[in-house]
């Protein structure tokens, strides 16, 4: 187990290293002189000197990377020449909104997917299973950007529900209830995609597990159906669910981008798209780095949980 964790940590560090190289190299994808793009309209000799010092643009590419990663490891992602804000403080302001949205959506998704998958698995091909099967399959084909547009169209515009439309976001620190209201549609949109995937994965694994011999064995001991479902079937069936959830977090961030973009919620996605629009390349680079490492780290945490849930995995 310790060996397994050590191997995973090594892999995590390795992947983060690869991500840092990728993020670093992004600015060199710009055609021509990166300084021109980064400085944008603020291209003056003075700014140019600051930028060259900050990024070491006149040095070799390896030295540039070492300078850059040195700054990054000290928590310094540079200062945007477009907005004149530090990249780190911009990210710090935006990130909690994404986390709140993801948190809310995951609670809804798990709380609905787990019990429904259990009921479906108990009677595969029963009416509930058929309805949920067809419904979840259809929802699988509706991208989040369509869901949110339709929700805004029907809920905010046609029904006129307050605090749900575009630009109605209120920060958590300002007003808790209004904040929740303004996040209902975005979180719901994110939870739909998650629910569909979690429900389908857990349902099929539960059905497979319930046919295993050890479930028959548990029944023959005289244990109730409910206890068998929770104590015997759920845990071995949840490995794929947790794996999917870990991978899904990356997808959630992307869906979050779309939702924030439409509703002008100043999370990471909205910030990212605005930065791309205003050619604020240092900010884009910073967000890409933070989000990528964050997603990889979340995956790592899920891997770790899976290991605790199913001891067979680290034993191989």
């Amino acid at each position: 187990m310790i060996k397994y964790v050590a191997r995973r940590v090594a892999l995590l560090i390795g992947i983060s290293f690869v991500i840092s190289i990728g993020s670093f190299y992004l600015i060199h994808l710009l055609p021509g002189d990166p300084a021109v793009f980064i400085l944008g309209t603020n291209d003056s000799p003075a700014n140019r000197a600051i930028l060259f010092k900050q990024l070491g643009l006149d040095r070799s590419i390896v030295t540039q990377y070492l300078i850059w990663i040195g700054h990054v490891l000290h928590g310094n992602l540079g200062i945007s020449f477009i907005s004149h804000n530090s990249v780190v403080s911009t990210i710090k302001a935006a990130l909690p909104i994404d986390l709140e949205m993801i948190f809310l959506s995951q609670i809804v998704a798990f709380a609905s997917a787990v019990p429904l998958a259990m009921r479906s698995a108990r009677k595969p091909d029963g009416w509930l299973d058929r309805v949920l099967g067809a419904g979840s399959f259809t929802l699988l084909s509706v991208p989040p950007f369509i869901i949110i547009v339709l929700l805004v169209l029907f809920v905010s515009i046609k029904l006129g529900v307050a605090n749900t439309g575009p630009a109605s976001f209120v920060p958590l620190s300002q007003n808790f209830l209004v904040n929740l209201e303004s996040l209902v549609l975005p979180s719901f949109t994110l939870s739909v995609g998650s629910f569909v995937v979690y429900y389908r994965v857990l349902r099929s694994d539960l059905i497979a597990t319930l046919q295993e011999e050890f479930i028959t064995m548990a029944r023959s001991k005289g244990i109730s159906a409910r206890r068998i479902m929770w104590r015997h079937a759920f845990r071995p069936s949840s490995v794929a669910l947790l794996g999917t959830a870990g991978v899904n977090i990356g997808g959630l961030l992307a869906s979050g981008f779309v939702v924030q973009y439409l509703l002008a919620i100043p999370g990471l996605g909205y910030t990212l798209i605005s930065a791309i629009d205003t050619s604020d390349y240092l900010l884009v680079q910073g967000i890409v780095l933070v989000v990528s490492v964050g997603v990889v780290f979340i995956n790592f945490v899920f891997d770790f949980i899976i290991n605790i849930v199913d001891p067979r995995i680290s034993r191989e």
């Binding site: 295993e212 011999e213 050890f214 028959t216 064995m217 548990a218 029944r219 023959s220 001991k221 005289g222 244990i223 109730s224 159906a225 206890r227 104590r231 015997h232 845990r235 071995p236 849930v309 199913d310 001891p311 067979r312 034993r315």
Partner: protein, 335 residues
């Protein structure tokens, strides 16, 4: 067979039929037999003979959908056929328990073995956490698991096949059942381990006064360890009687064929086996008469058209289902 001993298990005209997309599949048809206290009965048959389905039907473990069970199964006075799951739960574990074929799949892979045993004790007997644990360790010792206190916390994956089967037996015995159904308990285990497990089952049966139904495809397993024997073919009992009578004076050609086609250690090498041609019938498409007729060298028109009933032979309790039985005192080439 003293007349005053009780019948612990009474199976009467039991049939189990599955509804499949390809039609009705009669896995078990009109099986009847009884079992006394402390007795061990063997059920032998090849794959598709219905022996495993029979065991599960006796337990009442079959799923409720797409299945039709007729007849009666009385265990210690409890009617299993038609009982609801909550009713059956009260008698599972305490009246009847089961040992499954594959110890690799019959234990929960993500639950410590001790927990799998004391779960039964706590749920069924209402024992406290501590006393259940103590009892579970006792049971592990009883089935011959060395250093059982440490093994209590092991996961099934950390144990060998033989050890796992011992754990399965310990779990089955947790509530001291009166009847134990053992479905191929040693298939897949090595010969030396198989001998250990069979000896263990024999010992426990005597010590705990259980009745045992031993289901297997291997005539060697039942030869010395059962007092009576049932031979099944295509879901039906084709011969039943005392084990010695079946081996020595079998009347059904299938029983003979089964004995003749098994290789034996006592035979000189390169002994030509008397193989049965063909293979077991498709249960979805059974012949009208005797199911064995298409492979039988004695088959007549009657065999192909009319199903033979179980007919008593000369020994008490010995019956066979055949229109053209082997003459009474033949013994096959084996001895």
């Amino acid at each position: 067979m003293s007349p005053d001993s009780r019948h612990l298990l009474e199976v009467d005209q039991l049939s189990t039929t599955f509804a499949t997309p390809h039609g009705l599949l009669p896995a078990v048809s009109e099986v009847s037999f009884t079992l006394q206290e402390d007795e061990t009965i063997g059920i032998v048959g090849e794959s598709g003979s219905g022996k495993t389905v029979l065991a599960r039907t006796i337990m009442g473990l079959q799923p409720m959908t797409n299945i039709q069970v007729e007849g009666s199964v009385l265990i210690n006075g409890f009617q299993v056929v038609g009982a609801s799951d909550p009713e059956k739960r009260k008698h599972w574990g305490t009246d009847v328990a089961m040992v499954f074929q594959d110890p690799m799949t019959s234990l929960n892979p993500v639950m410590r073995i001790g927990k799998q045993i004391d779960e039964t004790l706590r749920v069924r007997l209402g024992m406290s956490r501590q006393s259940a644990k103590a009892r579970a360790i006792e049971l592990l010792t009883l089935v011959g698991i060395p250093s059982s206190t440490e093994r209590y916390d092991a996961f099934p994956g950390e144990l060998s096949g033989g050890m796992r089967q011992r754990v399965v037996i310990a779990t089955a015995l947790a509530c001291s059942p009166k009847l134990l159904l053992a479905d191929e308990p040693t298939t897949g285990l090595d010969v030396t381990i198989q001998a250990q497990i069979l000896n263990l089952l024999g010992e426990l049966q005597q010590r705990l006064h259980m009745s045992v139904v031993l289901i297997t495809h291997d005539l060697g397993v039942v030869a010395t360890r059962t007092s009576r024997l049932i031979v099944m073919y295509a879901g039906r009992v084709v011969e039943i009687g005392e084990t010695r009578d079946i081996f020595a004076h079998h009347r059904m050609p299938y029983t003979r064929a089964l004995l003749d086609s098994s290789p034996r250690i006592s035979n000189p090498s390169h002994t030509r086996l008397l193989a049965i041609p063909g293979r077991p019938p498709n249960l979805l498409n059974l012949p009208n008469g005797c199911s064995f007729a298409p492979r039988c060298s004695f088959a007549t028109d009657q065999c192909h058209n009319e199903r033979p009933p179980l007919t008593p032979s000369s020994e008490p309790g010995h019956s066979f289902a055949c229109w053209n039985p082997l003459p009474i005192s033949t013994r096959s080439e084996m001895s």
